[in-house]
Amino acid sequence: MMRAIVGACLLLSTACSSGGSNGQLWKLASEQLRDGRAGASQQVSKAEISRAQIDVLDLAIIRVEAPDQKLRTLALANRARGNRVSYLTPSKRQITLKGGLVVATQGFGFDLLPMQVESNDPIAFPLPPNRWPEAISRTYFTPGRGPDGQSWNVRCSYSAGDMVRITVAELNYTTRQMIETCEGGGAGFRNLYFVDERTGLAWQSRQWAGPDQGYLNVEVLEPLD
């Protein structure tokens, strides 16, 4: 209902102009209203892809879900620098992974600015779980006043869970469930990783991406070679 009111007010107040942006607003507002009625199921279907399609694409591909934004989408790798790989969604949102760690996002509602990680971070530099350190430090940056935005210095510790068999894009993996508990700088959160015991790659994860953006769910459908 509120979304409808927002849309109606938007249409009322912006009317029309020669600039074109107002016309776009009419369209955007109507899309807002339409999306609200369509619900999440329509978006979910867009995030599905078969193994055969992945093989044909022959590209690194991940699936990202932003629950707070009711968004679930596929993203293709479009650039790499070292082990930092940036993925682009069809709607031009960007998410950057360092190893299996989400280190930056753009367009998922509230951005995560480039994160500072240590060289022993077992998610950013994948290690088999039996070699993970007891604790590491990270600095998250989110938009805020000043040249680097707002920083969140956290200390993270790990605990190993059960072995879990997961299915990602029709492939089965036997993974170790790893829980990462982070605290510091006014932030506190718990990330969850399903990690390949041999390579240390997190095939599935639930990662904090800032106080406003909340958690993102990431599945690696096809890693970058």
């Binding site: 927002v6 007010c9 938007l10 029309c16 942006s21 607003l25 955007l28 480039p114 040249p147």
Partner: protein, 671 residues
């Protein structure tokens, strides 16, 4: 029909905002029912609230100006049943948090209501509040003035002096006189959005001679939807009232931020694509195309040795650093290898503002790196951009431009006969740009709904108080003027406007603005020679001329986006005086400002208070348009301190390129 001396003007968009759980008193202070509590609202929370009962009507704007400072501007209208004090009152309320709530200790706040108003609303208090069992908030406090009516404690800090109506701002009465004890409970019920409150009040409504049957008040509030709260209260056993609150917060956009094109990938310098040719034969048309894909328009470009200089403009709501950063990325990824330095000049509102000198290697080495933004900024030179003739290798062809818009504007008048007069105005705007320096502007207004009655023309025209004498029955030509603006030097801007400048006045207006390099200060001078326009004929004038002008100082304090402005000069009615404006802006474009004007003409009256809130459309809609909606309260009507409404003043056009704002929003550089 008697009008409150203030008109509320707003476009409908911002009235549907996003909110925290708000409980505001009828005077716009966070609290129980009539009495305040000690809690603060979330930083920058903004709320527009209305309260109505048979004795009192209020319209309030509440703003959490700083994490520990809450402000509210309150326009109250009383039924004249009391001691004959003015039935209308404009007042400023302040509440300051002395301590935050701890595990054991309560939050403690001190507050002053009715600052710069008359004694009817004047009240001071200290209050403590504590959350119990997570859902109940308990408050107890001691009040003076209006809140000391019950006289539970006999003048602990001395007798309260009689209110001196000759004083525009009185402070010697603060916390003086008998004090009253108040207390209350607020319960956030299990029903989502519903809260119930009960309070033991110390306000006896003595000025209104109401003598409530009981000191107990009861209230309920229900958050109908995010940003919209309805409430009802029962005061003193015999008065029932209702409240409506619309609220929002710049830090909580209603929608996800717009996505737009992703930034260009920048890799190692050795891999730069040199897309737009070599140093010997640059293809700037190609560069213009690459920047266009980023929503940036290339206006001018040249290659000078190892320096690539460009002037760009963006029509989106992107922060200045984002435009600069994206331009730098494109240049780094595509420039010839011989280029080592980028000189990026930015145009805002057809005025060249600043030049950012950036080292190319910084872009290649620091892109996507943690703290890369601050490292680039540390190496970046920021100087005033010049509008003087330069030799450019490439210039965008200048074409005369035509812009128009039509939009309705909703306007609410608060009247003393307990009615709200909704007024709808259809506003048509046209602008013909001959060159970046010269444009012609026209504005037409038509009253779609509302009181179209026209008062007779006064025997002697006045500066502003004769506004109701203007014809409102037909289409009104509000503005028809030529505007010439030009940058005189790297740091000095100029403007000259001539024609029908606003509905009330026509004539000439000239302005100079100086924005020194590496400074958070700016200085302006404006001089206007105007004549009052006829009440009926849009092209005629009446016998009333005014020479008016101001010297202005603008200061971006660098503290949480707070800026200050001081205007001193001669106003339309010939009165000399000054206006102080305090503003707080957010990187997403929200801007809230409060102004106070004191001149010779109102030195024995209340200060003229005004409030202005600009809300970017991108906050409520997934759009990159720079369009904003504006809410104005007060500071408009009346002859004292009346200022000419010139639409193209310089500082608002270029302030986004001010050093402090650039620093504050530099986090956008890599976006």
């Amino acid at each position: 029909m008697k009008r409150l001396s203030t008109t509320l003007v707003f476009i409908l968009v911002p009235s549907v905002l996003g909110a925290a759980d708000l409980n505001l008193t009828p005077r716009g202070v966070s609290g129980l029912i009539d009495m305040p509590d000690a809690f603060m609202l979330p930083d920058a929370e903004s709320a527009l609230s209305i309260a109505r009962d048979k004795h009192l009507s209020t319209l309030n704007f509440t703003f959490q100006a700083l994490p520990r400072l809450q402000t509210s501007l309150s326009f109250a209208t009383y039924d004249d049943i009391g001691a004959g004090v003015s039935s209308e009152n404009t007042s400023l309320n302040l509440k300051y948090a002395l301590t935050d709530e701890g595990r054991v200790l309560p939050a403690i706040s001190v507050g002053i209501n009715g600052l710069f108003g008359n004694d009817r609303d004047a009240a001071e208090y200290i209050v403590a509040s504590k959350t119990l069992a997570q859902t109940v908030e308990a408050s107890v406090g001691l009040g003076w003035g209006r809140y000391g009516g019950t006289a539970d404690v006999s003048a602990p800090f001395g007798q309260r002096p009689a209110f001196d109506t000759a004083k525009r701002a009185s402070f010697d009465h603060l916390f003086k006189g008998d004090a009253g004890v108040f207390a209350g409970l607020l319960w956030h019920t299990p029903v989502d959005g519903l809260s119930l409150a009960a309070e033991y009040s110390s306000d006896t409504f003595a000025n209104e001679a109401l003598m409530p049957d009981s000191r107990f008040n009861f209230g309920a509030r229900y958050e109908v939807s995010e940003g919209l709260t309805l409430g009802a209260y029962q005061r003193g056993g015999d008065t029932v009232g209702v409240t409506l609150t619309l609220s929002g917060n710049p830090n909580r956009p209603r929608v996800a931020q717009p996505v737009g094109a992703p930034p260009v990938f920048v890799g190692a310098r050795s891999g730069a694509a040199q897309t737009w040719g070599s140093a010997a034969s640059p293809d700037f048309d190609r560069l213009a195309g690459l920047l266009s894909e980023q929503g940036i328009q290339l206006q001018k470009a040249k290659l000078d040795g190892d320096v690539a200089a460009v002037r760009v403009v963006s029509w989106s709501n992107a922060a200045v650093p984002k435009v600069i950063g994206r331009t730098a990325r494109v240049l780094a990824a595509t420039s010839p290898q011989s280029v080592n330095v980028f000189d990026i000049s930015l145009t805002l509102n057809d005025l060249p503002t600043k030049t950012f000198t950036i080292r190319r290697n910084d872009i290649h080495q620091l892109v996507d790196q943690p703290r890369g933004g601050s490292q680039v900024l540390a190496n970046t030179g920021i100087t005033g951009a010049s509008d003087r003739a330069q030799t450019w290798d490439w210039q965008q062809q200048q074409q005369p431009g035509f812009y128009w818009s039509v939009a309705p504007r909703i306007q609410l008048d608060v009247t003393s006969d307990n009615e709200f007069d909704p007024v709808a105005v259809l506003n048509a705007f046209v602008k013909y740009t001959v060159s970046p320096s010269l444009s012609f502007v026209g504005v037409l207004d038509y009253l779609l709904a509302g009181d179209k009655n026209q008062d007779p023309a006064p025997a002697l025209p006045t500066a502003r108080s004769d506004n109701s004498s203007y014809d409102r029955s037909s289409v009104q030509l509000t503005q028809l003027a030529a505007v010439y603006q030009r940058k005189l030097s790297d740091t000095v801007y100029s403007r000259f406007s001539f024609g029908l400048l606003e509905r009330g006045y026509g004539g000439a207006s000239a302005e100079i603005l100086w924005t020194p390099n590496a400074s958070n200060l700016a200085f302006g001078i404006e001089v206007n020679e105007v004549k009052k326009r006829d009440y009926d004929d849009p092209f005629e004038f009446v016998d009333y001329t005014a020479t008016t002008g101001h010297g202005s100082v603008y200061w971006d304090t660098g503290y949480k986006g707070v800026s200050a402005q001081l205007d001193v000069g001669k106003y339309l009615a010939g009165d000399w005086g000054g206006t102080v404006t305090l503003s707080r802006y957010h990187a997403n474009g929200w801007d809230t400002s409060l102004s106070a004007t004191l001149t010779e003409a109102n030195k024995d009256e209340q200060l003229k208070l005004g409030l202005r809130v600009s809300i970017p459309l991108g906050w409520v809609a997934p759009t990159t348009t720079a369009q904003k909606s504006t809410l104005r309260l007060g500071g408009i009507s009346g002859d004292a301190g009346a200022r000419l409404n010139v639409s193209d003043r310089l500082y608002p056009k270029v302030r986004d390129a001010g050093d402090q704002r650039v620093y504050d929003s530099w986090g956008e550089f890599w976006k």
